[in-house]
C-alpha cells in the first residue's frame, strides 16, 4: 500500500519552516483535553465502582452469598458504599460529557479518521501482532496510528459507550426497561458492567506498556500535540 491510498496520511501538520526538525502536530487541543479529563474520570469511575462492588462482590444470589473476589481497599474510592455512589454519580456526568464532546469534535473536525478502525485497516492488524508478539518484521508506519492501534482505540471508545449504557440500566432498570431487556435484565447488566471495566483496565494496561516502550516523545505528544521525529514522516 502506498501513502496515497489512504487519504488522511498522515493526519498531522508538519510545522512550516521547521521541516528539518521533523515535528508533526498529532493531537488537537480537544483530543488532548478529553484524553486527560477522561484519564481522571475513568480512574474515579473504576475506583468508586470497585468500592460499590465491595458491597456485594458476587454475581450469584444473596442467599447463599458466594463472594467472587475481595477487592483491596487501596484500589477503591469513597470509603463506603454511600461515599462511592456519590463519586460514581458525579463523575458519571463528567465521563459522559467528555465522551459526547470528544465524539462531536472528532466528527465535526473530521479528525475521527486518525483513530477510527475501518475495513482497510483489517489486513494490517495481524502483521502488527506478529511484529509485537512473534518477532515479525515491523510493517512500515504510514499513518499516525497503525491498524492495531486504531483497533485498540476504536474498541476503547465502544467500551466507554457500553459502560455508560450498562450503567444506565444498573441505575434505572425500570425506565430503561428496553435497554435492560437487550442486556438480559438487571442481573446481566451488572455482569456486563463489570466485564467492561475489566476490558477497559486491560486496554489501559496495554496502552501504558506501549507508551513506555515508545518513549518520552510519544508521551509528550499527548501533552503538547507535537510529536518529534514521527516514523511516518520522510
Amino acid at each position: 500500500m502506498t501513502a496515497s491510498d489512504s487519504t488522511p496520511v498522515p493526519i498531522a501538520t508538519v510545522e512550516a519552516g521547521e521541516t528539518h526538525l521533523r515535528t508533526a502536530y498529532e493531537h488537537p487541543w480537544a483530543v488532548r483535553f478529553c484524553h486527560w479529563l477522561n484519564t481522571v474520570s475513568l480512574l474515579v469511575m473504576a475506583a468508586s465502582g470497585l468500592q460499590i462492588f465491595r458491597a456485594f462482590p458476587s454475581f450469584g444470589p444473596k442467599i447463599p452469598q458466594h463472594d467472587l473476589l475481595n477487592v483491596p481497599r487501596s484500589l477503591t474510592l469513597g470509603g463506603w458504599l454511600g461515599g462511592a455512589l456519590q463519586w460514581h454519580m458525579t463523575f458519571a456526568w463528567i465521563y459522559v460529557a467528555t465522551g459526547v464532546f470528544y465524539i462531536a469534535y472528532q466528527v465535526l473536525s473530521r479528525n475521527y479518521r486518525q483513530p477510527l478502525f475501518v475495513r482497510k485497516d483489517v489486513a494490517g492488524v495481524w502483521p502488527m501482532i506478529r511484529h509485537y508478539f512473534f518477532f515479525g518484521r515491523k510493517p512500515a508506519q504510514i499513518e499516525v496510528y497503525n491498524p492495531l492501534q486504531k483497533m485498540a482505540y476504536t474498541s476503547a471508545i465502544l467500551l466507554g459507550l457500553l459502560s455508560v449504557l450498562t450503567g444506565i440500566v444498573l441505575y434505572n432498570s425500570v425506565q430503561f426497561s428496553l435497554l435492560a431487556t437487550l442486556m438480559g435484565g438487571f442481573h446481566w447488566a451488572r455482569v456486563w458492567h463489570f466485564c467492561i471495566l475489566c476490558a477497559l483496565l486491560l486496554f489501559v494496561l496495554g496502552h501504558l506498556i506501549m507508551v513506555i516502550l515508545h518513549g518520552w516523545n510519544n508521551f509528550t505528544s499527548m501533552l503538547t500535540g507535537w510529536k518529534r521525529n514521527p516514523e511516518y514522516l520522510p
Binding site: L21, W29, L85, Q86, Q175, S177, F186, T224
Partner: protein
Amino acid sequence: MPGSPKSAKSRSLNRRELLKLSPLLVVGAFAIPRVRDPLLTAGVSFTDWASAKWFRRNHLAPTFADSELTPLDKFYVNTYDVDDPDVDLEKWTLIVSGDVKRPGQYTLAQIQSLPKLTQNTRHICVEGWDVIGRFGGVRIFDFLQYVGAKPDAKFLHVECADDYYESLDMASALHPQSLLCYEMYDQPLTRVHGAPLRLRVPTKIGYKQAKYLTSLRVTDVVPKPGYWEDQGYPAYYGM
C-alpha cells in the same frame, strides 16, 4: 539541536500548547475536602433531578411469572438496627397526618377494605443484589384518595416502628404499582419483612421500601428525606 534558535522556538510553542490544558486543573477541586463535599452532593442532586425528569408516571415496572419468584426464605432481610421491632399487631394503627382532609388513625382492616393489587416485581438493593418477590397491598394512590390527600402535595413521608424513616416524591408514590403492602407471597407480612405494613414501590431502590410503618404524612417539605439519605445516599434513587 539544543541551544539553537529553532529549538527555543519549538520549546515556547510546546509550552503554549501545554498551557492550553490548564483548564483541567479545575478537576483538582475534588482533591480539596471543603470543596469536594458540596461538589459531590451537587452531583448526586443532579443525578436525582435527571432521574426524576426521566420518570414516566405510567411506565410499568416489569412483572414476573410465579415460576421466576425468589423463594421467600431466599429473600434477604435487610434492616438497619433490629429485624423485629416488636410491633403490637393487635393495637397497631397507621397515623395519617399532614395535608389530608381526614387525618387520624387507620386500622389494617380499613386499609384492606380498599382494592387489593398483587404483583411479582423485582426488588433491587443498592448493594447490587436483586430478588423477585410477590407483593400484595393497596395502591398508595387509592389510599391517598381515601384519606383525602391534597392532590398537589410534593412528598409522602413515613415513619417506622424501628425509628427508620423514609420519603417518596409524590409522582413515584402515585405510580400505579406503588403499594402500601401487607402481604408477601400471599401471606400476611412476616415480622422481619415489615409486619403489618410496608412500602413496596417497584420504581425505587431497596432502601426506600420502608417496613413496619407507623405513620404517614402528606407534605410539601421533608427536612430529613430518609435514614440512609441522611447518611449520604441519593434521596430520589428512582428506577
